[in-house]
Amino acid sequence: MTDLMEFVVSRFNYWIYVVLMMIGLYAMISKRNYVKKLIGMTIFQTSIILFYVSIGVKSNATIPIVDHHDVVHSEILVDHYANPLPHVLMLTAIVVGVATLGVGLAVIEKIYRQHGTIEEPELLADVDQT
């Protein structure tokens, strides 16, 4: 039992991202409202951002900004700084996420103007009629 607890706790960042991801996936599949589906999509993307950010963490490390003063007086130890690369990658991923959300919302607006609803069952009935 303690082994299992240790297994779970030592990898808690992965558990959180998986749980968030599944919440997002559930919302995308089962919600009828298109805006709610988009919210699920955003949660899904954010969980991956969380995963990336968490793998850059080191214990007792600080933000990866090197002080000029330190450089002169002591050498730079990699262990003292968090890994900045995953964070930088996620800047791009956030931009992509925002762009996707924007396109998604624009499409929903177009759907609403065309069909007067964004609830999936009513929408599909309306589509089949026309």
């Binding site: 995308m28 589906k37 999509m41 991923a93 992509v96 762009a99 998604g104 499409v107 929903i108 177009k110």
Partner: protein, 499 residues
């Protein structure tokens, strides 16, 4: 100048898109000129790059001058130089046909469509040319975002179909991103060649993390290429998009995703990685067989001309995935040859469908009634594309099936052979149904009265010319199959490390 060619493949369409959207604010018709010029320029660059790569071997271009594992690298070997040419040629045909198709369907919207089309081409070229796993994700999203916008611009069911496409496409891209994260976690690198080096040196073939990364990347790409049963978004999104857009995305997007999967198998994970895991090859083939069978069967039941072609496309994706999972050089030769020939024949078929729909004003398969009489030239090119889909020599479809089947026989994968033959048979059935409508039209049919058939002429010349050129490609690639196939096999053996 010569060592900058790799950058220009992405740079020209990217800046072309910016200029086209700016020019569109001022003079709408300049958009089209800029877009077509940019594509022609890119085509010249890719051909130059292809010749260069064939002469001196793989070219590496460091973006911003940062050396490889740290900076982003463009990696061009003969294989992706070939795919680059395919992309620019068939994107060029789509842009050639675009003015006529748009004039009919979306008058006044040209200045939105052309910049997006160029951005889409930028993304496709970037996905092919890049040697950086994360950069590939960014290019994938550039491609996807512009295709979402292009699909949604259509009328009728396009917007609703596009929403499904956005949700599914995002799931696929996110899975890919997650897979790259796992690879980074294990190897500490994002450069494809560097990942391969670390995996080989560290003996990471059996590592759980790299296996998870591989599976996530593969499933993400499967969603993106529309492999059955993850194809749900594809038929509606492609069928209800404007014709000008379908002509561009249908031949290219699935093919480039397939190429990316091939690249990961050959360059990043190496064939040894595939073969080190029991059953993987079998599972891949079973999924592919199901995809081929289901795609062909559903296509048979369709009554919408463009949707029918989309389901044929779903079956074709099954061909290529099955070929990949045979993991032998002959089958990979078939896959690469099929990427080229499938781009040609889908381009031909969708241009043909667009011409027929434009000439008759109907998208039901009955639009083909009387076609042999009223539009013989359009119909002849369409028939040529379809013969290639069935696999009738000397069209390119025959040779790609031949290469794939010889690869499968070498591995003893009889189910895959059976699935390919079954699909040929189904395609032939669909073909005869369409031909019967077009040829034997003196038998009266209720559709004639309702749809006012038999009074239209040929499609507009702006659509017919690209259609004929693409049908010539279907023939030409088929006639050059022996030397071309031999060349591909040599390159594949070189890239995959086979003797």
């Amino acid at each position: 100048m010569n060592d900058q060619l790799a950058f220009f493949t992405v740079g020209i369409p990217l800046f072309g898109a910016i200029f086209a959207s700016l020019a569109g604010l001022w003079r709408a018709h300049w958009c089209q000129r800029i877009a077509q010029t940019a594509i022609v320029g890119t085509a010249i660059v890719t051909v130059g790059l292809f010749l260069q790569v064939n002469e001196v071997g793989a070219v590496h271009y460091q973006l911003g001058g940062w050396p490889a594992p740290i900076g982003i690298q463009f990696h061009v070997d003969p294989l992706n130089a070939l795919v680059l040419i395919v992309i620019t040629v068939f994107a060029g045909l789509a842009l050639w046909a675009a003015p006529t198709a748009l004039q009919d369907e979306l008058p006044g919207q040209e200045r939105f469509v052309y910049p997006l089309m160029l951005l889409l081409v930028t993304g496709l070229l970037g996905m092919t040319v890049t040697g950086d796993a994360f950069n590939l994700y960014v290019m994938l999203e550039i491609t996807s975002l512009s295709s979402y916008a292009l699909v949604a611009i259509g009328k009728g069911r396009a917007a609703v179909s596009c929403f499904t496409y956005i949700v599914m496409g995002t799931i696929g891209a996110s899975f890919y991103l997650l897979g790259v994260g796992y690879l980074y976690l294990k190897t500490g690198s994002l450069n494809m060649l560097d990942i391969k080096r670390v995996m080989l040196e560290g003996h990471l073939i059996q590592s759980q993390t790299s296996i998870t990364g591989f599976i996530l990347i593969t499933v993400g790409l499967w969603i993106k290429m529309g492999l059955f049963p993850l194809h749900g978004w594809l038929p509606n999104a492609y069928a209800f998009a404007p014709h000008a857009v379908t002509n561009l995305i249908a031949p290219l997007m699935t093919k480039v995703s397939v190429y990316v999967a091939v690249r990961y198998m050959l360059m990043v994970f190496t064939p040894d990685f595939m073969l080190a895991h029991e059953n993987w090859s079998d599972i891949g083939q079973i999924i592919a067989c199901v995809a081929i069978g289901a795609g062909s069967l559903i296509a048979y039941s369709q009554t919408d001309l463009k949707k029918l072609l989309c389901y044929l496309l779903v079956a074709e994706v099954g061909y290529m995935v099955g070929g990949m999972w045979l993991v032998n050089p002959v089958a990979f030769k078939g896959v690469i040859y099929h990427i080229v020939s499938d781009a040609a024949m889908t381009s031909c078929l969708f241009l043909g469908a667009a011409s027929v729909i434009q000439a008759t004003g109907h998208r039901h398969v009955h639009a083909l009634r009387h076609a042999a009489k009223t539009m013989p030239w359009t119909f002849a090119a369409f028939v040529l594309g379809f013969l290639s889909m069935i696999g009738v020599p000397p069209t390119c479809g025959f040779f790609s099936k031949w290469f794939l089947i010889s690869g499968a026989v070498a591995e003893g994968a009889w189910w895959y052979v059976a699935a390919l033959l079954f699909s040929s048979l189904m395609n032939a059935l669909i073909f005869f149904r369409l031909v019967e409508m077009a040829l034997f039209s003196d038998v009266a049919h209720p559709a004639d009265e309702v749809m006012d058939m038999g009074k239209n002429g040929e499609a507009a010349i702006g659509l017919r010319l690209p259609l004929w050129v693409s049908s010539l490609f279907v023939l030409g690639i088929g006639l050059a199959a022996q030397p071309f196939g031999g060349w591909i096999e040599r390159i594949v053996r070189q890239v995959g490390g086979w003797p």
